[in-house]
């Protein structure tokens, strides 16, 4: 695999005409073959960053390089390497999915014969082949999202950028989409994902950057980030809850209802002593799970911490 990073973002800045500073010098690197999560709350600057990478937004400063090719200086060459699945539906809804895909390939200079073969391949892989000759406006929301993935694959990009591709998509289709994208990633395509479904990011991505108010507040491996979470809450489904709960140092145990208990404890705390105490009190645990997605908990903490920190997010200028 190439040693050139798939993406280098260097001090990228964007100030819109209305004065809003969407990116305040963002820098990050994505290695080739990575499955990279770019997370952040609404308005954090994710879509602006993706817009600059895909040349839909003009940057105010800095540069980005896709496999060593500058987006600013060699736009055409850089765009050949990128596939974009945008947040909003952006195809002509009166065209047929097959034509949308073939035309997309044409825009990349791919001859029609090859384009037609690829359109068939990707529409089949994304289970849209039976709709290939229907008007796109007749497709369901999930189908439209899958069509945008098929379209983005037409130039067989080395870097696939997915901007909230599963928004409003049901769980079954979401899973099939991730299966497809994981396969693409396993075959060597670098994937950058933004999503509000943090469990997706946790399951799929190896590295992560969290952006808030136009700055990167965290950029690390998923494993290292999750290890920062020092407290976890477990939910226990139990056969029955007695009147009195066992008291255990370092564990906040509480009753949720007749058949559910919650235990909040440090990540380093062992579970054996808790199970021993529950058993001693005659409580039979039938199943257990994490109360919230771990990444979600960290995400909220990082973003909230950033907001409370003085001197950030334009507070200096306002003071």
């Amino acid at each position: 695999m190439s040693s050139i990073p798939a993406l280098v973002v260097d001090n990228l800045r964007k100030t819109y005409g209305n004065g809003v500073e969407a990116l305040k010098g963002v820098s990050l690197t994505v290695q080739p073959g990575d499955f990279f999560a770019l997370l952040g709350p609404n308005g954090a600057g994710k879509s602006t960053l993706i817009g600059i990478l895909s040349s839909l937004v003009n940057s105010s400063g800095g540069d980005a390089q896709v496999f060593g090719i500058s987006v600013n200086k060699q736009r055409s060459e850089a765009m050949r390497l990128i596939g974009l699945v945008p947040q909003e539906i952006n195809f002509n809804q009166f065209e047929k999915p097959f034509d949308i895909c073939v035309n997309e390939a044409g825009f990349y200079g791919i001859p029609r014969r090859i384009a037609m073969e690829r359109a068939e391949k990707y529409l089949k892989e994304l289970r849209l082949w039976d709709k290939a000759q229907h008007q796109a406006r007749m497709l369901s929301g999930g189908m439209k999202r899958r069509l945008m993935i098929a379209r983005a694959m037409m130039n067989e990009p080395k870097l696939l950028i997915l901007d909230e591709p599963t928004a409003g998509v049901d769980i079954e289709i979401r899973r099939s989409m991730w299966q497809f994208v994981s396969g693409i990633n396993a075959a060597g395509t670098t994937v950058i994902l933004t999503t509000h479904y943090l469990e997706e990011a946790e399951q799929l991505c190896r590295n992560i950057a969290i952006i808030d108010h136009g700055t990167i507040v965290e950029n690390t491996t998923m494993k290292r980030l999750l290890s920062k979470l020092d407290v976890e809450t477990f939910v226990f489904d139990v056969a029955g809850v007695p009147g009195e709960l066992p008291a255990l140092p370092g564990v906040a145990l509480r009753r949720v209802d007749e058949h559910t208990l919650e235990a909040e404890m440090a990540r380093t705390h062992d579970l054996n002593s808790l199970f021993a105490a529950l058993t001693a009190h005659g409580i039979t645990v039938t199943s257990m799970r994490n109360k919230t997605n771990r990444l979600e908990e960290l995400f909220v903490r990082l973003v909230e911490h950033g907001r409370q920190e003085p001197g950030r997010n334009g507070q200096e200028q306002a003071a």
Binding site: Y16, R75, N90, D99, G106, F107
Partner: protein, 259 residues
């Protein structure tokens, strides 16, 4: 694949897509102008024209009117095609498909202009066919006829593109044809010779660029013109270059397209 062949594929993709669009909505793109022009021929050419008699060089009013109406159809449809198609792509955000691709700006502009010219010329051919039901025409200068049609169509395709780039809502692409294009066309010598006007109206008419297009085409078909044909072609070439450069500049700056 070389850049040149990739650009050629991209260009043919846009042109093909535009032609498919024109044919898909043929009841909106091809039939209405044919019906409108038939009415012009019946009312102005046949009913009123028969009372006017010969208008210039022994040509009947119907023969004089036909080239003007053909050119008017070409102008209106070239303009209407590109402004609605490109603005539609902007409105639906489908234009982003092209903006994120490696295609250079000139390919996007040329592709859309070629699509608009295809519609302009198709409608022009239809209207010419209808004209031949009412009168006989013998093309005096085929090369001038073709060149004037092509340049006129390109000019108004480029103008329609500029309109679409600046338009923010569908109303904005209807304003220019209604308040600028139609009056200029009607006052551009389609229905009459500007020689019939007294001064200063004759001089004022010569500011109207459509006058040069209509007369260049009329010269090509009938061999008569109110203006010098060389000047007419110089004016048309000037507008092609100026509007082409302006369109490319708008795409480069991303006006109305990129943030």
């Amino acid at each position: 694949m070389s850049n040149a062949s990739a650009n050629l594929v991209a260009l043919s993709t846009i042109v093909r897509r535009e032609i498919v669009r024109i044919l898909r909505i043929w009841t909106q793109t091809l039939i209405p102008p044919a019906i409108t022009m038939t009415l012009y021929f019946v009312i102005f050419g046949k009913l009123i024209g028969s009372r006017i008699g010969s208008i210039e060089h022994g040509y009947t009013y119907m023969q004089y009117l036909a080239p003007g109406l053909v050119m008017m159809s070409i102008i209106m449809n070239s303009y209407g095609n590109i402004s609605s198609s490109f603005f539609g792509a902007k409105f639906s955000r489908a234009v982003e498909e092209m903006l994120v691709s490696p295609m250079p700006n000139w390919v996007i502009l040329t592709g859309y202009v070629a699509g608009a010219v295809a519609r302009g010329l198709s409608v022009g051919a239809l209207v010419l066919g209808i004209a031949l039901f009412f009168t006989s025409l013998h093309v005096a200068h085929p090369l001038i006829t073709f060149a004037s049609v092509l340049l006129g169509s390109v000019i108004f395709s480029l103008a329609g593109f500029v309109n679409a780039v600046y338009a923010k809502k569908f109303d904005d692409i209807a304003l220019v044809p209604t308040f600028i294009l139609t009056p200029l066309t009607y006052l551009g010598g389609v229905f009459y010779s500007v020689k019939m006007l007294s001064e200063p109206w004759q001089a004022i008419s010569r500011i109207n660029p459509i006058l040069y297009m209509v007369n260049a085409f009329r010269y090509g078909v009938l061999g008569i013109s109110d203006v010098n044909v060389g000047v007419a072609f110089a004016v048309m070439l000037f507008f092609v270059l100026a509007l082409g450069a302006f369109g490319l500049q708008l795409l480069k700056r991303g006006v109305g397209l990129r943030s």
